[in-house]
Amino acid sequence: MKLYLKVWRQENRASKGDMVSYVVEGISEHMSFLEMLDLLNERLIQKGERVIEFDHDCGEGICGACGMMINGRAHGPLSGTTTCQLHMRSFKDGETVYIEPFRAAAFPVLRDLKIDRSGFDHIIQSGGYISASTGQAPESNSIPIAHETTEAAFDAAACIGCGACVATCKNSSAALFTSAKISHLILLPQGKLEAADRVIKMVSQMDAEGFGHCSNTEACEVECPQEISVLHIGRMNYQYNKALILRK
């Protein structure tokens, strides 16, 4: 299979980038999308050119490191799939494929397709945890939690922090990422005590990082590789308003 690639190349944070064209021949449909880029990079090395930089690690869709806009879609054409799990059987011979980094004011480009997502870490630092130091925990079966409750908390906790939600949002909002963490923790009895303080801090941090506001287009849920529901955003907004009203 032969593909015509247009890839975003950018030297560093300060420089301007540009789309560069490459023709890649000899692609097998069993290759993953990232293995196709490996193939191109191997050829660039042979030509003495700098390779295309992109983040990736586990190859199993769980670490959240990989992520690029492929033909305008975060993580490419398949739903519920990270870039590393996308395979070339999803493309047609002779197709032109546009590859760009996840773009957002809060995700500066480091080089080519690598971006800085430390804003997500800062949001978690602001309150995305249950304050349970090592040694403080009670016997684990002393707090029964309904099966459905645990499963609902898991659905939110499954977020891999890849940033597809931000990249696909026209406002570059991190509402899905932030609300998934708020939901995960507030659904569990252990997380309820700090709920009000947590939601206020995390929402303010989200704004401080430069992420935009949510205008309910629901594009984030469509592109989320873990298919996390926008209903968490509704819960976050409710909890935020409740916390503001009840704040002393």
Binding site: D57, I62, I130, A132, N141
Partner: protein, 636 residues
């Protein structure tokens, strides 16, 4: 002779005795002490967070762009704990025994007992952090069983237990960042250990964005940098997993043990092409309900579903009737290789076996199997485009977990004072074979419950020690070595990429020091690896500059893998017995079972680096079994 510093007392009291007599540091002094933690997986994050909670100043390093992405995140199946919630006869002692036996009697009794003992607190800790472990309808925690045991002691969060534990540890770490007790250095790679007066005093790290070489000093250094199974290139590990941190510590004097003891996981997706970079793991939990088989007849080309029941060979059930499809990993992987080598393999490259759910679906319903393993079946479909509810999954063994690593004593301290190794980076608890769901356990227990006692015990001697700063000549010297290597890589005018060398090394090791080895294959491998290393030193080609440059990162890692690969072969060659994952073809019974030699090899091999081109020197730590009797490990 190396001393494991095992505390006095009965097996069950050793850890309590240790805790009762370990030295304490008052809270005011703790804030004067700095600890560097390299790696942010379960062991690294949990250790950094817990030490920070106690009041020490922590610098946390990872090469990923966020601490949350470390490869612990990819563990699927579960985490073991001897809670006995299923009332099926489990206990700390039984878990200890299963683990010692599972490791083929090549681990320390005291360490393993402590692992089982601390497993109880880990589940409590994780639940308190909000880890959504599976629950029964009454609200209590659920369990399932894993390979090599007959009780249900595995706690799980669907097929993403590692992710959920990882998020718990990551959040604990982030909480300490916001408390100002941890400073994180993401996109940083440790490139050397700095020693002053024989003690670990800091590291040299490279900022992977700017290319800056940085010096960091501390009172102790913790390496929690994971396993090196990526040495085989094709493995279940993440692309960035490497041996560089522990290898560079090894070159500074830390001994390495069990180096060739690498677990091949029996349930991975088989290789399908030459450009492949990764073999994906399918959780071992699938073996709870899936049955493993190959066609009885070699070279059978029929569609799998058309092969009738009586022409299928359920070889695990046949050879190991007691444990069947839940036989331990080393045994299951070797049995698969035996059938594949006999020509009974299936799939386009005839390199796979079937994992069949048709019976389980018939007995339990499709919905039930979907609920238990839905995400794994979806992943299988994404990668292969095949619906495994309708036809058998194709699976194959792949390099997965390294039992070997830096030798540590009971304190988890290496042979370098002040240098600790945690989690998969050390050789401690799993002996020659790790049981499923003990890996998440060990990394968490090391980080949450053991290092936070043993590191302060060491640091108590550091309060009055002279403060070492990065102006010390040892830092300049280490930095110089690091800079020289990077410059040499960038200036080499070769023609072969780092990946190419890595793939060549991986294939060579897989064939000659993989699932099975012989004296001959290992001797050959040593010669070939030396030649490959020479070629690497002159023929490597790196493009790009000294800033963001993944090729430059790979070059350093592959360079270390090449040396490590050689040591693996020495280790496997020297050990003239078969034990756990180490299967020497010369030492087997007539029906293909491993033959251990307790007379001559009941010790831990600990290797010392003797310099470039020199043969490593072997040290021995004898294994003393006071509690268990050494028996032939049988799962028949």
């Amino acid at each position: 002779m190396i001393d494991a510093k095992i505390p006095e007392g009965n097996l069950a009291e050793k850890w309590s005795n240790y805790k009762d007599s370990s030295k304490l540091i008052n809270p005011a002094n703790r804030k004067k002490l700095d600890v560097i933690v390299v790696g942010t997986g379960l062991a690294g994050s949990s250790c950094a967070a817990t030490l920070a909670e106690q009041g020490y100043n922590i610098k946390s390093f990872c090469f990923q762009d966020s601490a949350r992405r470390a490869h612990s995140v990819a563990a699927q199946g579960g985490v073991n704990a001897a809670k006995n919630y299923k009332n099926d006869g489990d206990s700390v002692y039984r878990m200890f025994y299963d683990t010692i036996k599972g490791g083929d009697f090549r681990s320390r009794e005291a360490n393993v007992y402590r692992l089982a003992e601390c497993s109880l607190a880990l589940i409590d800790q994780a639940v308190a952090q909000g880890v959504p472990f599976a629950r029964e309808y009454g609200g209590y925690l659920n369990n399932r069983s894993f390979g090599g045991v007959q009780v249900s002691r595995t706690f799980y969060a669907r097929g993403q237990t590692g992710q959920q534990l990882m998020i718990g540890a990551y959040q604990a770490l982030m909480r300490q960042v916001s408390a100002g007790k941890v400073k994180t250095y993401t996109r940083h790679e440790m490139l050397d250990l700095v020693m002053v007066d024989g003690k670990a005093r800091g590291i040299i790290a490279r900022n992977l964005e700017t290319g800056e070489i940085e010096r960091h000093s501390a009172n102790a250094v913790v390496l929690a940098t994971g396993g090196y199974g990526k040495v085989y290139y094709l493995s279940t590990l993440a692309m960035g997993c490497n041996t560089s941190a522990i290898w560079r510590a090894h070159k500074k004097g830390a001994l390495m043990s069990g180096v060739s003891w690498i677990q091949f996981h029996p349930t991975c997706l088989p290789q399908i092409g030459e450009t492949q970079s990764k073999l994906t793991l399918m959780s071992e939990s699938l073996r709870n309900d899936g049955r493993i088989w190959v066609p009885k007849k070699a070279g059978d080309d029929r569609v799998l579903n058309d092969i009738p029941e009586e022409e299928r060979d359920y070889y695990l059930e046949r050879r190991y009737p007691t444990f069947g499809n839940l036989s331990p990993r080393d045994i299951s992987s070797r049995a698969a290789k035996e059938r594949i080598d006999a020509g009974c393999g299936v799939g386009p490259m005839k390199n796979a076996v079937c994992l069949d759910f048709s019976k389980a679906i018939k007995e339990q319903s499709l919905a039930k199997i979907e609920e238990k393993y839905g995400n794994l079946f979806r992943m299988y479909d994404k990668i292969n485009g095949v619906d495994a509810y309708k036809e058998p999954m194709l699976i194959s063994p792949a390099a997965h977990f390294t039992m070997g690593g830096l030798w540590v004593d009971y304190n988890l301290m290496t042979t370098i004072p002040g240098l600790f190794a945690l989690g998969e980076a050390n050789f401690s608890d799993h002996g020659a074979n790790r049981l499923g769901a003990n890996s998440l356990l060990q990394s968490c227990v090391d980080g949450y419950f053991i290092a936070p006692y043993t590191i302060p015990n060491y640091l108590s001697g550091e309060i009055k020690a002279e403060k070492v700063t990065t102006d010390h000549p040892a830092f300049a010297e280490a930095e110089k070595v690091v800079r020289e290597q990077l410059e040499r890589f960038l200036n080499l005018k070769g023609r072969i990429s780092a990946d190419h060398f890595h793939k060549t090394l991986g294939k060579l090791l897989y064939d000659k020091c993989g699932l099975s080895r012989t004296k001959e294959s290992l001797e050959q491998a040593i010669v070939e690896i030396k030649a490959l290393k020479r070629s690497f030193d002159y023929e490597l080609k790196i493009t790009g500059d000294d800033q963001v440059n993944s090729e430059l990162e790979k070059a350093g890692r592959v360079s270390d893998f090449l040396k490590l690969g050689e040591l693996m072969c020495y280790d496997a060659l020297q050990r003239e017995e078969s034990c756990g994952a180490h299967f020497r073809e010369e030492y087997q019974t007539a029906d293909g079972e491993a033959v251990r030699n307790d007379e001559d090899f009941c010790y831990v091999s600990a290797w010392e680096w003797k310099g470039e081109g020199e043969q490593p020197e072997l040290h021995k730590e004898p294994l003393v079994f006071d509690t268990v009797k050494l028996i032939v490990r049988s799962y028949k």
